[in-house]
C-alpha cells in the first residue's frame, strides 16, 4: 500500500488574547512512500515529524491537505478504519494485560466477513455413514490386534481412531451450503474471530518478533527491548497495510538499539509492510530506511536514499544534521574555483564554474587524511580513542563550532599542530543566504 501525503499541513492554533501565535507544525508536506518500503522521517525534536506520523495514523486531524493510502483518500477516516499499526514512542502497552492479551487485543476487535452458510444435512448424513463403516473396520482390526497381543499395534490403532474422529468432525463442519438471498447474491455475515483463530495468529506473530517465551508475562516484567518487540507485535498482528513507528528505539540502550533496529528491518522486509519510521537519530534512520526525509521546523528539507542524502546534502542544515560527529563548519570563501579556509586551499572545484564569494565550508569528520604535505592545518587539543578509530578534538581559527575529525587508529597523530589534506567529496561549500543552500 502506497502512502501519499499531498500538501499536508498542521497548524496548532495559538491564543491571540495572550499573544501566543499559531504554531505551524507541518508545512505543506508532499511525500510518497512506495509500497513495501521503509521511509524514515528524520529531524530534530519539534520539527513536526511525529505530528506527520500521527496525522497518517488519524490521531491528529490535518489542517489542510490530503492523505492517500493507495487509491483511497483516508484524510477524514477514523484511525480504527485505516488499517494501520502504530508503535508508540513509549510503547503504550496495556499494563494490566499480559503480553498475550496485549497482542491479542486488536484481534478481538476485528470483524471477519465471510459467506453465510447453512449446514448440508444430507451430505452430513452421508459422511457419518461413511465414517461409521470406517470406525467399525478399525475397531475390528483393534480387536484382532488385542487378541494377538500386539500392544504397540493396539496403541497405533487407537491413535488412528482418534485421528479418524477428528477428521470426521472437520468433514462434517465443511459440509455446508453457501447461502444466497432471494436475488441469488451471496449473503455475507460479519463475525468476530474465534479464540483458536486469535491464538494461531498471536503465536505466529510472537514467533516473528521472538517474544514467545514472554507471552504470559506483564509488560512491566519485560526489558525495554522486549517491550518494544511486543509493541511491534501488537501493531503487526492485525496485518496492517501500513506500519508507523514513532521513535521506537529512543528508550533502549545503545547495544539493544543496534540490535532492534536490525530486527525492525528484518520484520519489515519479511512482512513487506509499507513503513514510516520517525526518529531524531540520523544513524538509526540511515541504517534501516529505504528512503529518508529530513525535516526542519515543519518543512521538508531533503528526501532520498540515505547515502545519497548524506553524500549530497542540499543545505547546511542537512549536512550538519546527518552524521556523528556532525560536519565541521568553517568560515571560508571561493576564489577562482577553489575553496579556501583562511589562506589554505582545501578543495579545487573541477565540476563547474562557481563565482567568487564568501561561503561556509563544511568538512565531514572522516574527510581528512593526515598528510605532511597537506594544505589544511589545525591544532589538535585532545585525542580520543574510539577503538576502531580515533577522534581528534581540534581547534581552528576559522571554525564555527567544535571541530572533530575521525581518522584510522593506526595513524600516528600527537597533540599539537597537524597538517592534513581534505578529501574533495567530503568537503562542501554552503552559501551564506537564508537557506544556506549548497554551492558545491
Amino acid at each position: 500500500m502506497e502512502i501519499r501525503l499531498k500538501n499536508l499541513t498542521k497548524v496548532f492554533p495559538g491564543n491571540p488574547k495572550k499573544g501566543i501565535p499559531d504554531t505551524i507544525a507541518v508545512n505543506k508536506m508532499d511525500i510518497t512512500v512506495p509500497d513495501g518500503k521503509l521511509m524514515g522521517l528524520l529531524g530534530p525534536s519539534g520539527c513536526g515529524k511525529s505530528t506527520t506520523l500521527y496525522m497518517i495514523a488519524g490521531l491528529l486531524e490535518p489542517t489542510d491537505g490530503e492523505i492517500w493510502f493507495g487509491d483511497e483518500d483516508v484524510t477524514e477516516l477514523e484511525p480504527e478504519k485505516r488499517g494501520i499499526g502504530l508503535v508508540f514512542q513509549n510503547y503504550a502497552l496495556y499494563p494490566h494485560m499480559t503480553v498475550y492479551k496485549n497482542v491479542a487485543f486488536p484481534l478481538t476487535n476485528l470483524f471477519l466477513e465471510e459467506r453465510a452458510t447453512t449446514p448440508d444435512e444430507a451430505k452430513r448424513a452421508l459422511i457419518k455413514r461413511d465414517y461409521a463403516v470406517k470406525f467399525a473396520k478399525a475397531k475390528e482390526e483393534l480387536k484382532a490386534l488385542e487378541q494377538a497381543g500386539n500392544k504397540a499395534g493396539c496403541e497405533e490403532k487407537k491413535a488412528e481412531i482418534i485421528a479418524l474422529k477428528g477428521q470426521q468432525e472437520l468433514d462434517i463442519k465443511d459440509a455446508v451450503i453457501p447461502q444466497n438471498d432471494s436475488q441469488g447474491n451471496p449473503v455475507m455475515k460479519r463475525r468476530h474471530l474465534t479464540k483458536d483463530e486469535i491464538d494461531k495468529i498471536v503465536r505466529e506473530t510472537a514467533r516473528i518478533v521472538q517474544i514467545e517465551p514472554f507471552l504470559e508475562r506483564k509488560p512491566n516484567q519485560l526489558s525495554g527491548g522486549q517491550q518494544q518487540r511486543v509493541a511491534i507485535a501488537r501493531a503487526l498482528v492485525k496485518k496492517p497495510k501500513v506500519l508507523l513507528l514513532d521513535e521506537p528505539l529512543s528508550n533502549l540502550d545503545a547495544r539493544l538499539r543496534l540490535q532492534t533496529r536490525e530486527e525492525i528491518r528484518r520484520i519489515q522486509q519479511s512482512t513487506g509492510i509499507t513503513t514510516v519510521f520517525v526518529t531524531h537519530d540520523q544513524e538509526e534512520a540511515m541504517s534501516i530506511s529505504d528512503e529518508i526525509v529530513v525535516m526542519k521546523l515543519g518543512l521538508e528539507q531533503q528526501r532520498g536514499v540515505p547515502q545519497e542524502v548524506y553524500n549530497n546534502p542540499v543545505n547546511e542544515f542537512v549536512a550538519n544534521f546527518l552524521g556523528t560527529p556532525p560536519v565541521n563548519l568553517f568560515k571560508g570563501q571561493i576564489k577562482g574555483n577553489k575553496i579556501y579556509i583562511g589562506d589554505e586551499m582545501v578543495r579545487e572545484i573541477t565540476e563547474k564554474n562557481v563565482p567568487d564569494q564568501e561561503c561556509s565550508v563544511g568538512i565531514r569528520p572522516e574527510g581528512i587524511v593526515i598528510d605532511e604535505k597537506g594544505s589544511f592545518s589545525f591544532h589538535v587539543d585532545r585525542i580520543l580513542t574510539m577503538g576502531r578509530d580515533i577522534m581528534l578534538v581540534a581547534n581552528h581559527p576559522f571554525a564555527k563550532s567544535n571541530t572533530k575529525f575521525v581518522v584510522d587508529s593506526f595513524v600516528k597523530v600527537s597533540v599539537g599542530d597537524v597538517k592534513a589534506s581534505v578529501k574533495p567529496h567530503k568537503c562542501f561549500a554552503f552559501s551564506l543566504n537564508e537557506g544556506k543552500t549548497r554551492i558545491i
Binding site: A92, P95, P106
Partner: protein, 368 residues
C-alpha cells in the same frame, strides 16, 4: 573514640541488658536502626510527636473498641454503675434470636423450645409446666436483611453510576468545572437535611408521585410497605454517596495516560470495549478503594434511615421493619447495652470477613 573502645562499650551494654528492657528498647526502635546508637537516643522524640494523636486515638477509639468487646460478654451490664452479673455468651444469642426469655427473667435456648405453628409462639416445657418464650427477632428479621439489601444494592449501583458520571465528566470540555462542582454539592450537604428533602420528595403528596403519576402512593411514611420504603432509602443512599466516588474516580481518570486511548483507537476498540478493557482496569485501584470503603460505610448505614423516615418503622408502625444493624445498636442504649455491644461485635466480624474477601479477590483483579 577509637574503634576498640566502641566495641568494649557495646559488649558491656549487652551484658547488662535486662531482657524485658531490651525487648521494649527493640520495640521502640525503628527496624532499620536497631543496633544504631542514634536511633536509640532520639526515639522518645518520635513518640512525643505522635503523642497527641495517640492519646486521642486511645481515648476515643481503642478504649471504646476494647470496652465494647468486653461489654458484649457481660450479663446485664449497667453502664451508669458499671456493674454486671459476670461473663456470658447469651448477649450474642439474644441478638441472633437463639436465646429467649420467659415472662420472668429466665433464659431459655431455642433448641429447648417447641414451636406452635397455630399460635406462632414458642413455648418451653419444664417440670413446672409450659411457659411461653419470647425471642428477639429485630436483628434476624429486619436489621440484618435490611443492611445486607442496602449494601448489595447501593454499593454496586452507586459505583457503576458514579463511574459512568465521572467518565462523562472527564470527557466533556465545556463547563467541566461547573459540572464537577454541581456533582460535588451533595457531599457537603448534611445527610439529615438531604434526608428530609428526600422525605418531602417521596411524600404521598410529593413530587415523585406527581411526576410518575402514582396518585397518593406512600413511600416513606407509616403507611408504606417495607419494599417501597427500601426503594426510597436506596435511591437516597445512592444519591448521597455519589459525589465522593465521582471525586475519587475523576482524579483516577485524570491520571490515566492518554496514550492508552490512542493505542485503543489504533487497535480498533470501540468506546464500550475501551472502557471495559482500558479505563476500568487502569482505574481498578480506585475502584477497590471505593468498594471497600463504601461496603463498610453501608454496613454501618443508619443516618439515612433517620434522615429519610425518622424512625425505624413504616408499614403500619407495629414492627421495626426499617431497622439497620447500627440503628438496632443505637436503640439498645435505652435497653440492655450488652445486646448492642454484641451486635456491634457481630457487625465488626461481618465487615472484617467482607473486607478480607474483597482483598483476596482484588489480588487477581487489581492492577497497580
Amino acid at each position: 573514640m577509637t574503634p576498640e573502645t566502641t566495641t568494649v562499650n557495646n559488649s558491656q551494654t549487652t551484658k547488662k541488658a535486662n531482657p524485658i528492657k531490651a525487648f521494649f528498647k527493640r520495640l521502640f526502635t525503628p527496624k532499620e536502626r536497631i543496633g544504631a546508637d542514634a536511633g536509640e537516643k532520639n526515639n522518645w522524640k518520635a513518640w512525643l510527636y505522635l503523642a497527641p494523636s495517640l492519646i486521642l486515638l486511645a481515648v476515643f477509639t481503642f478504649y471504646p473498641l476494647i470496652n465494647t468487646i468486653v461489654i458484649a460478654f457481660l450479663k446485664n451490664y449497667d453502664y451508669t454503675s458499671q456493674v454486671s452479673e459476670g461473663f456470658t455468651m447469651d448477649n450474642f444469642g439474644v441478638v441472633l434470636g437463639l436465646v429467649g426469655k420467659t415472662g420472668g427473667s429466665d433464659i431459655v435456648y431455642k433448641w429447648q423450645c417447641i414451636y406452635n405453628s397455630v399460635t406462632k409462639t414458642w413455648s418451653y416445657v419444664s417440670g413446672a409446666g409450659s411457659v411461653q418464650v419470647y425471642f428477639q427477632t429485630d436483628v434476624i428479621n429486619y436489621a440484618l436483611p435490611n443492611t445486607l439489601i442496602i449494601t448489595f444494592v447501593t454499593v454496586p449501583v452507586s459505583i457503576i453510576v458514579s463511574l459512568l458520571i465521572s467518565i462523562g465528566l472527564n470527557s466533556i470540555k465545556a463547563f467541566k468545572k461547573l459540572f464537577q462542582t454541581i456533582f460535588f454539592v451533595p457531599y457537603v450537604t448534611n445527610a439529615i437535611a438531604v434526608g428530609m428533602v428526600f422525605a418531602v420528595l417521596f411524600d404521598y403528596q410529593g413530587i415523585i408521585n406527581f411526576i410518575f403519576n402514582l396518585g397518593a402512593a406512600p413511600w416513606v411514611d407509616q403507611a408504606a410497605p417495607t419494599w417501597k420504603a427500601m426503594i426510597a432509602l436506596c435511591i437516597y443512599i445512592v444519591w448521597h454517596s455519589l459525589p465522593f466516588k465521582i471525586l475519587i474516580f475523576l482524579s483516577g481518570l485524570q491520571n490515566i495516560d492518554k496514550q492508552y486511548y490512542d493505542a485503543a483507537k489504533i487497535d480498533c476498540a470501540g468506546k464500550w470495549k475501551t472502557m471495559m478493557n482500558v479505563t476500568v482496569p487502569l482505574l481498578s485501584p480506585q475502584i477497590l478503594y471505593i468498594m471497600i470503603t463504601s461496603f463498610i460505610a453501608s454496613f454501618k448505614e443508619y443516618t439515612s434511615v433517620v434522615g429519610l423516615i425518622g424512625m425505624p418503622s413504616t408499614d403500619g408502625g407495629g414492627t421495626k421493619n426499617m431497622y439497620t444493624v447500627v440503628y438496632y445498636i443505637y436503640d439498645q442504649i435505652k435497653g440492655n447495652v450488652g445486646y448492642g455491644a454484641a451486635a456491634a461485635v457481630l457487625l465488626f466480624i461481618i465487615i472484617m470477613i467482607f473486607t478480607a474477601v474483597q482483598f483476596q479477590v482484588s489480588k487477581k483483579r487489581v492492577y497497580y
